[in-house]
C-alpha cells in the first residue's frame, strides 16, 4: 500500500530525498514531463488538450523531525526540532539517526530520582538528549555526524478496524493521493501540474518556489489537517473530526480559499455523495498561503484528511476519510473547468 510505504519512509524538512525518489519511481511513466527544482520540489506535468490554462495540485513531502546539534562528553546527543512539535511527547521515544538509521532513545532522569518539583515540570528541549548506547563523545562521533537528520521509526499499522496509525500522515496522505491522481487521471482540457513540495513544516518554502516557477491559474492543496475530536475539547473548539469526511478550508492563518473554487468542490462532493466537513477553526496554515500570494495571485483551495495527534509518531486517520478525500480530489479534477470557478 502506497500510503503505508510512504509513511514508513523518513523525510524531515530539508531531507526529503527518500520520499522524492519513491514518488519519482511511481509516477515517472505516467507524466509528460518531470523535474526536480533547485530547492528539491518534485514537479510533474500532465499536458492537457489545451495548454492555455494550468491547474496545480500540491502536497508536501516533508515531515516534522529532529537534527543533531552537538555531541555531549558522555556520548549523548543534543538535538533540535524541525517543524512544530509538542515537546511533551518526546521523552521515552525511539528515534533513528542519519542515512543509516542508527537507533537511539530520548531518555530522561527516572521518576524515582526526580525531586518533587522536577516531577511536576515537563522536560524542556534543552534538558533532553538522545542515547545511542555510547559512553563517550569519541565513540558517538564515529557513528553520528552533526547535522544528521533524525526521525521517528516507521510504524504504520491498522488501529481498530477502520483507522490507521503512523508517523508522518501529515502529509503522506496528500502525497499518496496525488500519486493516485497521476495514475488514474486521463487527458484533461487543461494542463495539470502536480507538485510534491519540500519544507512545508518550516515555513511552506518549497511552495513559494513552485508557485513562482509554475505560474498556475488555480491550485488545490491536499493536506493532513489537525482533528481535535477528543475528550475535554469543547465542540466549538473542535477544528475537524475523524469519520466526518474530507475537510474543506474556508480560511486559516495562511490563506483565504477562493470562494468559487470551494463552492465548486462542495458541489462535486454533493453530486458524488461524498460527505464533507468544513474546518471549524481559523488555525494552522499550509502551502496554499504561499501559492495564493504568488506573482499576480492564484485561486487556491485546500482539501484535507483529518488527522488526530498530528505531528506525533502516533497520528491517527479514519480509513474512509482518506479514501473519500482521494475520491473527491479525483472527481474535482475530472469535472474541473476554469469556467466553473
Amino acid at each position: 500500500m502506497i500510503l503505508e510505504e510512504l509513511s514508513n519512509l523518513s523525510g524531515i524538512s530539508g531531507d526529503e530525498k527518500d520520499i522524492r525518489d519513491y514518488i519519482m519511481e511511481k509516477i515517472k511513466n505516467y507524466v509528460d514531463n518531470i523535474r526536480i527544482d533547485s530547492i528539491g520540489n518534485l514537479i510533474a506535468l500532465k499536458k492537457g488538450k489545451n495548454s492555455d490554462l494550468k491547474l496545480m495540485l500540491a502536497a508536501h513531502m516533508d515531515e516534522v523531525g529532529f537534527i543533531v546539534k552537538s555531541i555531549n562528553d558522555d556520548g549523548t546527543i543534543k538535538f533540535a526540532t524541525i517543524g512544530g512539535f509538542d515537546n511533551r511527547i518526546l521523552p521515552g521515544k525511539k528515534i533513528f539517526i542519519g542515512k543509516e538509521k542508527k537507533p537511539g532513545v530520548i531518555g530522561i532522569l527516572p521518576i524515582h530520582l526526580q525531586s518533587s518539583a522536577r516531577k511536576k515540570r515537563v522536560f524542556s528541549l534543552n534538558e533532553l538528549y538522545i542515547d545511542i548506547g555510547s559512553d563517550s563523545k569519541e565513540r558517538t562521533e564515529k557513528i553520528i555526524d552533526i547535522g544528521d537528520y533524525i526521525s521517528f521509526k516507521g510504524n504504520f499499522k491498522r488501529l481498530g478496524q477502520n483507522y490507521y496509525m503512523s508517523k508522518a500522515l501529515d502529509d503522506r496522505v496528500g502525497c499518496s493521493i496525488l500519486i493516485d491522481i497521476i495514475l488514474q487521471t486521463e487527458l484533461l482540457d487543461f494542463d495539470l501540474v502536480i507538485c510534491f513540495t519540500v519544507q512545508e513544516e518550516v515555513g511552506t518554502r518549497g511552495a513559494e518556489v513552485i508557485a513562482y516557477s509554475e505560474e498556475p491559474d488555480a491550485a488545490i492543496v491536499v493536506e493532513g489537517t489537525t482533528a481535535s475530536d477528543v475528550p475535554d475539547v469543547k465542540d466549538s473548539m473542535t477544528s475537524t473530526k475523524l469519520a466526518a469526511g474530507p475537510v474543506l478550508t474556508i480560511m486559516d492563518r495562511a490563506s483565504y480559499s477562493n470562494k468559487n473554487l470551494v463552492r465548486f468542490i462542495n458541489q462535486i462532493a454533493e453530486s458524488k455523495n461524498i460527505k464533507i466537513q468544513y474546518k471549524n477553526t481559523v488555525t494552522g496554515g499550509n502551502d496554499a498561503g504561499k501559492i495564493q500570494r504568488s506573482r499576480n495571485g492564484v485561486k487556491t483551495a485546500v482539501i484535507s484528511v483529518p488527522v488526530r495527534y498530528i505531528h506525533s509518531p502516533t497520528s491517527v486517520i479514519y480509513e474512509k476519510d482518506y479514501i473519500n478525500t482521494n475520491k473527491l480530489v479525483f472527481e474535482v479534477i475530472r469535472e474541473f473547468s476554469f469556467n466553473k470557478i
Binding site: P103, V105, G107, P110, H112, L113, I132, Y309, V316
Partner: protein
Amino acid sequence: MENLEYKKLLAELTGKTSVSGYEYKFSKFLKNEISKYCNNIEIDYFSNVIATFNSGLNLKKKKIMLTAHIDEIGLMVKSIDKNGFIKFTNIGEVDPKILLSQEVKIHGKRELLGVIGSIPPHLIENYNKHNVVDIDKLYIDTGFSKYELDEIISIGDVISFNVELISLNSNYISSKALDNRAGICTLIGVMNELKKFKYYNETTFNFTSMEETASAGVINSSYRIEPDLAIVIDTCFGKVQGGANEDTFVLGNGPVISIGPNFNSDYSKQIIKIARDEKISHQIDVEPGNSGTEAWATQISRNGIPTLLISIPIKYMHTPIEVMNIDDINLSVKLITNFLMKQ
C-alpha cells in the same frame, strides 16, 4: 552446556507481558523455559515460580535461594467513555511525562493496540507548557467504539507498552521491562553455568510476582522456602544526566554489590573478595536503609535470612526505552556462579 545468547533470551523475555498482579501467563512461559535446568518447578497461588535446581548430586550443604521478580510496571483500564476513549491508571511507579504518544497493548479478551493521547496544547485554557499532563487527563484511543470495546475490554484489564527490544550501538540494548527481565536472564544464565560444574548446594530459584506494587510475591515465597541465604537480583539506576554519582552506576562496568544494614556483611565481604580475586569488574552501592528491593522484605522473613543484593544498572528505569549493556549480564552471571560454587 553451551553458552546462552543473552540478547536473544532478553528479547524473548521482554517480548512477553507480565504486569504486576497479572503474571500468570508469564509464569507458565518461564516454567517451560527453565524446565531443562530444574526438576521441580511449582507455580504458586501468587504466580511465583519456585524452581529447585537439579545438579544431579544429592549432597546437601547450604540451602540457598536466588530471587528475581517477574513483574513489570504497566497501566490499568479505569473507564471507557461514550466515544470509546479509555481512561487508565498506573500499576507501579510510572512517570506520566513519558506516556504521551506511546503505543500500548490492552490485554482484554484479546489484545488491542492503542495510542495514548491528550487534549492538544493549543486548546488548553491558560496553557502552561511546563505543566505535566496528569495521568487522569490522558486517555487511550483504540479506533473502536464503546459498544465494541465493552465486548472486549473490562475495567481492571492491564495495559503494557507495545515495544520490541532493539540493539543500540555496541553491546547496548533498549526495551521495556529490562527491570527485571535482566535479573531473570541473569538467573537463567547462572543455571546454565552451574550445570557445567559439580555443584552441591540445595538451591531454589524463586521468580517472584508483584515486586513493583509492594513485594508481595517474595514475602510469602521466602517464608515458604526458608533458606539459609538469599540473593536478590534486581536492576538499579544507570548513570544519566542529572543523577547523583553515588546513586547511579555505569553501564557495562559490571554488577552492583550493595552494602549496608539490609545485607549480611559477612556474605557481602565474601562476594566482594571473590569479585576482586577473580578480577570480575563490579561496582559498590552503599544503601543506608531500605534498598527498595525484595531484599528488604526477605531479610526479616521468619527467623531472618542473611540476604545479598546484586543489581544490574539500567538507564531510564520504568520507561518503554530502558537501556542496558549485555556485558553486565555476563559479568553478573560469572560473579554469582563463582560465589555459589564457594558456599
